[in-house]
């Protein structure tokens, strides 16, 4: 999958490799209806993405009440869960994303020990 997204151009690939945090982020946010936590999570994720990944992310919000089968497939236990499918490695962020520091660590925009 990574190969497809990062085009075939060597230049672009090297650029992407040199700056992994600048790569296109594929994010999935799993929520449960319109609970306060869910709405908070959606708002927080949108804000943070606009702030740190402007133009370089693809966010999809999925309500697992509507699609319960996806919950099992994606190993969703806690909600809300934000799954960072790309770039690898896969990460799961749970919670309402009110902790910006942890959010950034979670999507590998910041090293963990920082």
């Amino acid at each position: 999958m990574a190969g497809k997204k990062v085009k075939s151009s060597t230049e672009e690939f090297e650029k992407a490799a040199a700056m992994p945090d600048r790569a296109k982020h594929v994010l999935r946010l799993y929520i449960t209806g319109m609970t306060p936590k869910s709405t908070r999570a959606i708002a927080n994720v949108r804000n943070l993405c606009e702030q740190y990944l402007k133009g370089e992310y693809e966010l999809k919000v999925i309500d697992i009440y509507q699609q319960p089968k996806l919950a099992a497939g994606e190993q969703i236990i806690a909600t809300p869960t934000l799954i960072k499918q790309l770039p690898l490695p896969l990460r799961k962020l749970i919670g309402d994303m009110s902790d910006t520091e942890r959010f950034l660590v979670g999507i590998d925009l910041k090293p963990k020990n920082a």
Partner: protein, 555 residues
Amino acid sequence: MVKKKPQGRPTLICGSAGCGKTLFAMEFLLRGALNFGEPGVFMTFEESPEDLAKNFISLGFDINDMMSRGLIAMDHVYIERSEIEETGEYDLEGLFIRLGNAIDSIGAKRVVLDTIEALFSGLSNAAIIRAELRRLFLWLKERGVTAIVTGESGNKMLTRYGLEEYVADCVIFLDFRIDEQISTRRLRIIKYRGSSHGADEYPFLIDEGGLSILPITSLGLDYPVSSRRVSTGVPKLDAMLEGKGFYRGSTILISGTAGTGKTSLAATFADAACRRGERCLYFAFEESPSQIIRNMASIGMDLAKWVKKGLLRFHSVRPSLYGLEMHLLTFHKVINTFNPQVFIVDPISNLTVAGSASEVKSILTRLIDYLKMTNITTFLTDLTRCEGSLEQTSEEISSLIDTWLLLRDIELNGERNRGLYILKSRGMAHSNQIQEFLLTDRGIDLVDIYTGTGEVLTGSARAAQEAGEKASDLARQREVERRLRAQERKKNALEANIAAIRAEFDVETLEVLLMAEEEKKRQAIQAQDRLEMAKLRKGKPSGPQAMRSKKNRKG
């Protein structure tokens, strides 16, 4: 122990690793699905569904098949801590949705969470997990599903993370203990709200048929008894037992020292049962079936044909193969599948290698209770050790026995001979005689031992004594005959004498009669003479004068 699992309530099963929690939970689901029409959801947090399916096929359940038939739904919840970053408040609604989805997909009535504690190691915010678990159990209760939650036993608490706080309705504790290298699994119900439950520890077993629990003791002594009798296979032994043999459904013990013929007697009984067309189950703890068949052929018994006909089944195992509970379960299982009328264990004394004496006694008590309940005639042999009294079994089960036969060696004149006697036989007037027990090429025979001159003789001493007695009997007989003949002769002589004397007497009598006749004649002649004389004298014919004159003349 209890009627059934609490319906619509969560139950916690806790225990240490390898004690059978997952199996217990799985069996609960499978039984529910197969026997009670209650589909179930298995939510596994540890093993993958593929591994579980493999494990359960070895226990006799085909999970994949049941899943395709919609009886079981499985969901593998996989938590990889390194992938997860907690970024604020969250809940476990995802888990609820997955569980709810699984329940709805097959209309499940039963749910297993194995083991939900994985949440604690996967997620760091214990406060949230605890709150969510509380909600989860309430939610399960509301949905009316019966849930089983497993938990690893902790140091001071029943479970490592204190699950018992949430699942407060029913707690079952599984234990896996090793005593003298033999392990026994035990189960205990710690709490069961709204039910009177057994508080004891119950041994349970896991084998190829799944998990089974055996009650420690049977509940009552209210089994029906039969007054029908069955032959022992030895006509003379039947004769010692009122001529009818054992009671059907009774428990018979043969005890004796080594080499006294216990197995032969047991095999004879088995043979007799098969001859009646009954099924006989033979548990051999010492010999292999072929060895028993060969040995019994030497005393003229063909057990192989009964095996071929399916009337006789041998079950040979080493007693140390597994623990006593397993033995008891094997007994139960084989009895249930074979459904015999006669059940033989040869010998029970070997069970002591698999457990302590008190455990063996408890096992045998339960076994005998079970057999009595099912009216199976039980034949046990027991090897008596040389030390100690013969009237004692090493397993101390004599009080459970209805008919107790004792085989013993009688040493006399440089010979060892076998003696058999009936120590007790409940409900019949049995013989009190010691009989000599002979193994012949036509089976077992009992011979009255010689008790003629106040001593007990067996073997060749008995034979010699009997031969001597026969000789002297013959001599006496001759003497009697001789005396009889002499007496006969005497009688003949006496009768001859009597005849002679009688003849003499007759002659004498005849003479006397003749004399009397002659005298009469003489007197008549005399009177005639006198008359004629008077005529001649012209006197008065015969008057007093004449008489006087005669008198005078005489005077």
